[in-house]
Symmetry: C2
Subunit: 301 residues, 2 copies
């Protein structure tokens, strides 16, 4: 149901993905190819509030082998520190530096990639406090309070998931973009993941602005490559030695393919089915029933 | 900037509209052809809060000649009674029965045209109190309060302009349509008219739902013909003896042409230019510099 601004003109997959569950030699060969693993979280490491068995052991095994682990999430409501607390609460050892959220992605994009003139450096945010916390360290934030007059220094409008979206915020954002502000979105998922798709996502916050303006925002979340560029900017890894791990062909796996990573690993504990991985237009290079199937090679346990 | 769900496949106009300003014989001939005049309001009778000179005299002349006058507005925040107060405040003599708003159009459509089963008759409204007042006389309204659980009797979701739009209302509306409720909009204008297009319109309230659902609502406002059907249902006029008067080719004039009315009259006191009326794809049959130019035939003054 999620809308994607990523080009659908990318060539469709034609290869047959390799099924690695139970194949110790194949898994060993696979692991040896990569130094960095980028993880989608919900549907791969856990589902909702339920941690999958073996998640921690798998992450520990990868770290023990010297792999860099990065948690990549389109969640825009939390700062990296908040998201780290969520991982800790779920029982996953992690640190803030391993987390790459769409709010952080947006912060990096604005401060390091956009060239804003000195008098246009403020960011008007539609979103929760996590975005503002992440941005505040490197950027000026313009207030969205009803008490604020239009701020002439706003050069960016950034739209994420906002449980307090209102008419006034939409009118201000529209005004700023019409006056020349850059139109950004943390991500463009129309609904929240794993909510039974009951709740509007960040993309739905942008929808009124897209209709009024007649143009799309630049998205800083998966599957858009602006996020991959920001990840590479931070971790400075060799893309050919990196693997994207995810449960959704059309977002996670696409993100890895279009980012020209060396590997893509699909798992069947989330949204996409085996048929989608094996016969779809966007296929991972390898796939597993579940992430913990990697543990078959863990000789140190 | 407004988005229209009306088919753009309607054949483009090729005739040369007749210019009637100063042409007493032409105006007399024009007036004799019609019993009913449907008026767009802003840009025709007034602009913002400024009544055009001669508006009242023109309306009085038409009434004196026995013409039915109908004020047709996409305004969805006001009930007809409220809108009548607005006309009175502007100094225009009128009565509630002459007013046809998109909120009233929606009310008629729901109660008389939709066939809802007895246990699905409630309407969930995103909009201001004017819509609810208009609906309440003929329909049950479901509450949008945060205290309300999902109401199994909701069979319709109606979206209009709502200055109190919020996340919870959008989530409820999405849920109801996913469960089978009919998806309606009072109108689909993306921005408000005559606000310097600074403010989001009713269409922008529907935009998140359109993105989430992947489908458009049925619109009960101009230029959609569901509104013309509702007007005809109420006034029971001969379409060949009716004329639509408006300032916007693409909404007002299109509304009259696609409704197969006998006449369309464009005025140059609003959005569309002379060039648009004379050379555009959607052209009125006749046009005037201003509505009050009709007074040239008023022998009784």
């Amino acid at each position: 149901m999620a809308t994607s601004a990523t080009s659908s003109e990318y060539p469709a997959s034609t290869h047959t993905p390799r099924y690695l569950t139970g194949d110790a030699a194949g898994i060993q060969e696979f692991l040896d190819k990569f130094d960095v693993f980028l993880f989608d979280c919900d549907g791969v490491l856990w589902s909702g509030d339920h941690l999958f068995p073996g998640t921690n052991e798998t992450l520990e095994m990868l770290r023990r082998k010297g792999k860099q682990v990065v948690f990549v999430t389109n969640n825009s409501t939390k700062s990296r520190a908040d998201y780290n607390k969520k991982l800790t609460a779920l029982g996953i050892p992690s640190n803030t530096e391993e987390i790459f959220s769409s709010s952080y992605s947006a912060s990096i994009y604005i401060s390091r990639i956009l060239s804003l003139p000195p008098n246009k450096r403020k960011v008007f945010v539609i979103g929760e406090t996590g975005i503002e916390q992440e941005l505040a360290s490197e950027n000026d934030i313009a207030s969205g309070d009803a008490s604020t007059l239009l701020d002439p220094e706003v050069g960016v409008v950034l739209v994420g998931l906002d449980f307090h979206i209102n008419y006034f915020k939409l009118a201000l954002a529209y005004h700023y973009v019409r006056r020349g502000a850059v139109f950004l979105a943390t991500n463009i998922d129309s609904t929240l993941p794993n909510s039974g798709t009951l709740f509007p996502g960040a993309g739905s916050m942008s929808a009124p602005l897209i209709m009024m303006l007649g143009k799309e925002p630049t998205s800083l979340g998966k599957p858009n490559q602006a996020m991959m560029d920001a990840i590479e900017g931070k971790f400075r890894f060799d893309r050919s030695r990196a693997c994207m791990v995810g449960d959704r062909a059309n977002t996670d796996i696409r993100f890895g393919i279009e980012g020209r990573l060396g590997g893509t690993l699909g798992v069947l504990t989330g949204v996409s089915s085996k048929e989608e991985f094996v016969e779809g237009d966007v296929r991972p290079k390898v796939y597993l029933d579940r992430l913990a199937d990697l543990l078959i090679v863990d000789q140190d346990r």
